[in-house]
Structure formats: C-alpha cells, structure tokens
C-alpha cells in the first residue's frame, strides 16, 4: 500500500486529488479504516416491527441479519454459518423463528443461538467434541440505536453511537423525531451506480451550490413554489459532531406559519412543538432555517424537501423525508439504498402524499436524483486516469487564500456546531477531514473467534 500522506495533506488544505474518487488503493484503505471502524446505518426498528421480522443488510461486503428476536430485542448477526461459512439467510427480508443453513442443516434461533446441529453426538461426540451450548452467530461487534435508527460498527471498541453522532443528533431529530413515536421507514429502493460512494455523501453534506444548476429542470416544471433555485444561497450550512447539512431559509413568520409553509398539517406541528427542544424549535421558528440535505460520516444521508404533488392551481406543497445510504461496492461502484421516512403519527392522507413527493423527487426514479447520479458517474469514470492524479480539485469555496472565511460564521444560530449562510464547501471539507483522519489511523485489530470449544 502506497503512502497516502501527501493525499491527506492536500485534502486537508481543500485541494482534493481527483483520483481519490476512483482508486483501488484508496478504496482498500477505506474498507479497512473507514468502514472497519465507523458506525454504519443498517436499518430502522420500524422495518422489523414484530418478533421474528428481519432484514439483511451489508457493511461493505459483510452481510448482517438485522432481526427482532422473540423478546423484542433488535440484533445484528453476521450472516455466516459457524460451520462451513454458508449464508444462513439468503432472503432480503421476512419473518422467521429460525435460520437454517441449507448446507448441513445447522440452525439458529432468531436471536442467533445455535439450536440445531445434525448428528451432534455421532459426528462430534456431543458437547465434548463441539460445545454447542452458548454458541451464536457472530454478533455485530458493536450495535447502537438512536431514534430507532440501528447502526453497527465492526470495531468492538467503537465509542457509543450517541457519542459518535455528537451534536449532529440535534439535526437528526428534526428528520426522525417529529413526534415521540418517531418515524416509520419504508423501502429501500436499491440500485447500483458506477460512482464512488464519497461523492453522494459530500454532496448531501453541503452542496447547496449545485442545486440552481443541476436541478434547474425540476424548478422549471413548476414542482416548487419558489421560482428560483438560487434561493438556496439564503440557507445556512451547518456542521456538528459527525455530520452536517444544508437548510432552506423560510419566509418570515411564526413557528406555526413557517411549518405550515413547508406543508406540515397543524396536528403534526402540535406534536413537533411537544417533541422538539426549545433550541430545535427556535432554529425553525426564530432563525427560520429548515433542514434540507445532510450527511453523517461516512455514508448515511438525509433529505427533506416540499414539492407540489398534485396538479391543482393552488400552491399546496407536501414535505417528504428520505434516508439514503451510499453503500460502497468498489472504488467505482456504489449501491444506493433509498428509503422514504414519515412520522408514524402523521395522518394517512399526509403519508400518501408525502410518499408521492418522495418518489417524484428522490430514489431510483426521483427527478432530482436522476441528474445527480449522471454527474457522479461521469466524475468517477474521469477520475480513473493519470491526468486525475495530477489535478487537485478546488474544494475551498467559502475560504480566502489565507484560510479566512469569505463571510464569518453565523453569530446567532440556535443549533449546535458551526453554521454559515451562503454557498461554501465547509461541510465537504469537514467530511473529507473526517475521512482523512480515519484513513491515517491504524485499523482496529479485533482477535479471531474460535468456535466449538477448542482452546
């Protein structure tokens, strides 16, 4: 593995060597040092509401069964039979009391416990040869849940999830905790694009600058109330803890008026008032900033927007929320998993229209997403060559040559972290700084796991 010190130094001064978006050596390091350590989103509890429900999700190439066991506990188990390594679950989702390996018939309860081992006595000499008691599918080294969002880390010594999220949790709540019961997550749509995973994560973290151009078509067809996408520059960009995002500036008004402007019905506004902290309410009601796109390092993004979803003459808009993951496949390929999220207590009619808004804007068919991915595929293919090893992309928007900001951070912003108004690549730089820090930190080295009682 080559020395990447110079690459990381360039990234930190805001000059990004273009090849990092398509480089097998960098990707090998990312797999080991970013995805071998970070908290990675795998599922939401609402996807597995009943005992026995499960979904199968990956962290890069590691497959995990995320299940709810008979006592209601959510678990993530490495999807590999302890015996010969067969996947014990080959479906993507379902409900099961047990998972039985198709190879030799070893079976596991939905909490991971090994309960069936054919010919245990004859083949192994019973417990003396293979200690079945207490054996389980390998659990994810670390598992954490926040607002029902289930994350795993491959590092057994990962800091607690809440600590990892840090102040980003303040913003995560605005998407995923609009009432005490939180969201239900629907989906995902999954598709593979020939693009590097970092591009989407950086874009959602802070690229409000691309909206007026990349997405001009959706404004032209009248999907939004605001006639100009350049309104994006009035929003604030914030970075806090392990993530950052973009916001829209709402027109003047009270908290209720501003939330109504976004399209929330009064009953949902009442629940937001009862659920959000004073500071969260002030950010929307007093500061007038409403969350839009965001990313949590390394590869979870969120988006919130409010298009017109019916052909009526009125200006009625309906907000939607999407969670999405940029699941790395290789240096030049990413699987996108895109979910629709909606507050569990929202009126049914709102849920229907919000779902429609999501489908029109994001996901495999979304009119925003379509144009984003075209850009990202093109960047990735161009980043493979030798010229891309010479070109350092300018990622310094918002900074002067002496590293002073073009305009100072917002003095009055109710959310935690640092926020700026106007276009700037503050968050893309923060994202890549976190990436650089991870890449230069030696990977965790958890010991091997032996099974069956041999010591």
């Amino acid at each position: 593995m080559g020395d990447q010190t110079a690459v990381l130094e360039d990234v930190r001064r805001g000059m990004v060597p273009a090849h990092i978006y398509n480089d097998d050596e960098i990707f090998a390091l990312e797999r080991e040092r970013v995805f071998g350590r970070s908290w990675v989103f795998v599922a939401h509890e609402s996807e597995i509401p009943r005992p026995g429900d499960y979904v199968v999700r990956r962290v890069v190439e590691d497959s995990f069964i995320v299940s709810r066991d008979e006592s209601g506990v959510v678990r993530a188990m490495f999807n590999m039979c302890l015996h010969r390594g067969m996947q014990v679950c080959r479906a993507e989702m379902g409900n099961a009391s047990h998972f039985r390996c198709p190879y030799h018939g070893w079976s596991y309860r939905n909490d991971g416990r090994l309960v069936g081992l054919p010919f245990h006595g004859e083949a192994y000499g019973g417990e003396e040869g293979f200690r079945r008691k207490g054996q389980t599918l390998l659990p994810a080294p670390s598992l954490g849940v926040y607002n029902g969002l289930v994350f795993v880390s491959l590092d057994p010594d990962a800091p607690p999830l809440r600590e990892y999220l840090g102040d980003f949790a303040f913003y995560l709540d605005l998407y995923t905790q609009q009432s005490l019961e939180g969201i239900e997550l629907v989906g995902p749509q999954r598709w593979r694009v020939k693009a590097n995973w970092k591009i989407g994560a950086e874009n959602f973290a802070g690229d409000s600058y691309h909206t007026p151009h990349t997405h001009s078509s959706v404004v032209e067809i009248g999907l939004f109330r605001e006639p100009k996408a350049s309104k994006r520059k009035e929003g604030a960009l914030y970075w806090a803890g392990s993530g950052g995002g973009t916001t829209y500036k709402l027109p003047p008004g009270t908290l209720d008026e501003r939330l109504r402007y976004v399209g929330y019905p009064d009953e949902m506004i009442t629940r937001m008032r009862a659920t959000w902290s004073d500071a969260q309410l002030r950010m929307v009601g007093d500061d007038g900033f409403m969350v839009s796109a965001a990313s949590v390092f390394p590869n979870l993004s969120l988006v919130h927007n409010w298009p017109k979803v019916t052909g009526g003459e009125d200006d009625e808009v309906v907000p939607f929320i999407s969670l999405r993951q940029w699941q790395p496949v290789s240096a030049d390929e990413t699987e996108v998993l895109s979910w629709f999220a909606v507050d569990r207590n929202a009126p049914e009619r709102f849920k229907e229209l919000s779902y429609k808004a999501y489908l029109m804007c994001f996901g495999s068919t979304g009119m925003f997403e379509q144009d984003d991915v075209e850009n990202w595929v093109s960047i990735t293919s161009t980043a493979a060559g030798s010229m891309a090893r010479r070109l350092r992309l300018n990622n310094r928007m918002g900074l002067l040559a002496d590293d002073k900001p073009v305009s100072p951070p917002l003095a009055h912003f109710s959310g935690p972290g640092v926020a700026y108004v106007g276009f700037g690549e503050y968050n893309q730089r923060a994202m890549l700084r976190a990436w650089a820090d991870a890449l230069e930190t030696p990977p965790p080295e958890p010991g091997p796991v032996d099974l069956g009682g041999v010591t």
């Binding site: 080959r90 479906a91 993507e92 989702m93 379902g94 409900n95 099961a96 629907v186 989906g187 995902p188 749509q189 999954r190 598709w191 593979r192 694009v193 020939k194 693009a195 151009h213 990349t214 001009s216 078509s217 959706v218 032209e220 067809i221 009248g222 999907l223 979803v309 019916t310 052909g311 699987e335 979910w339 629709f340 779902y355 429609k356 489908l359 029109m360 996901g363 495999s364 068919t365 979304g366 009119m367 997403e369 379509q370 144009d371 991915v373 075209e374 850009n375 595929v377 293919s381």
Partner: protein, 190 residues
C-alpha cells in the same frame, strides 16, 4: 407466489392470437415501444388515460412461501397522470442532464397475451415481457432491464386517440426482474 407480479391466468381465457382485440393490443405495445425508444414522450402521454396508474413495485428476495416478493409500501414508480406529466415536462426542458446526451434505448416486447373481461368489450388486460437495452455515452457498460408487465387497455370513449382501435393505457404494473437495479436510474419508462 407473487402479490404484484402479473397474475398467472388460465390458458383458455387468453384470447386466440388471431383475435382482433389481441392484434390491436399487441400493435399498441409495439407502437408504444417505438415511442419509448425515441423518447417521444408527449405522444406517449397522449395515449394514457387521465386516471392512469403506472406502478413498478420494488422487488425483494423472500423465502419461498413467504407470500410476498415486493417491498411493502415501496415502488420505483407509483404514478398518476400528473406525476407522469411532470416527468415528461422535465425531459422537455433543456436541463434534464441525465438524458442529455440521450440514452440509446431499445424496448424488446414479447410474450404478449390478451385477456377479455366479462363486463366490457372496451377494456382488455394485456400481459407482456419487456427487455430494455440502454446504452449511454460511448464506452459505458450498457444496462439491461427485464420486466413483466400487466396492462389494462381501455378504448377511448370518444374514439379520438389515434392508436389502432383507439386503445389507451389505463393501468400498468411493471414487475421488474431484479431486486437491485443495475442502471444509474429509471429516467426511462418500461
């Protein structure tokens, strides 16, 4: 077992291939494929009824016997006329980058079967298979999307729509044959 994939129908209820309604339905699908290949979406939209429903559920891998093979509550497309009209309007702008330059598209339509309905002669159900070949740029890997379709065709009551037999598309369910799509997006129609 499939909840939203085309319902297996009994062979004897399928119209004979020489039946005029089958011939018209088949021609509708082939003519439509030509419109989709050339991205003549305004004409395509004129063949859809005002109450059209255009649905492409997300397929998921489930155990045999699970009783479902689509993601509950999620689709790639779940469109009414307004939503489709916005998509078509977007392609008509000069800023729909994902299809500029346009993909080279070929919709291969086959396995067409037409089913009469008891209560009306002005509607039929048509099953078909579609294989979409999509090539973008000069050297990118092409993508192939395979799907089954179940359509409801309805005759234009005013007999004005210029399709043979004045048929219009009133509903389509696209049953994609992949769980994880291998194409950069669905900025196309199936």
């Amino acid at each position: 077992m499939s909840t939203l994939a085309p319902t297996p129908r009994t062979i004897n209820r399928c119209l004979p291939f020489g039946d005029a309604r089958h011939l018209e339905a088949h021609q509708f699908l082939v003519d439509e494929a030509a419109l989709l290949d050339t991205q003549d979406y305004d004409t395509w939209l004129s063949l859809l009824t005002e109450d059209v429903r255009y649905l492409a559920p997300v397929r998921v891998t489930t155990a045999r016997g699970a009783g479902f093979d689509t993601a509950p509550g999620m689709a790639h497309f779940d469109e009414d006329h307004y939503a489709l009209s916005r998509r078509v309007a977007r392609f008509a702008t000069e800023h729909a980058w994902t299809e500029d330059p346009p993909s080279r598209l070929r919709h291969h339509v086959s396995n067409v079967r037409t089913f009469a309905l008891d209560h009306t002669d002005d509607e039929v159900i048509v099953e078909s298979a579609v294989l979409l070949f999509r090539s973008r740029g000069d050297v990118r890997e092409p993508s192939i999307i395979s799907a089954g379709r179940e359509d409801r065709l309805r005759r234009d009551p005013a007999r004005r729509v210029p399709s043979v037999g004045h048929w219009m598309l009133a509903a389509r369910t696209v049953s994609l044959d992949e769980s994880v799509l291998r194409t950069q997006n669905l900025a196309i129609f199936l």
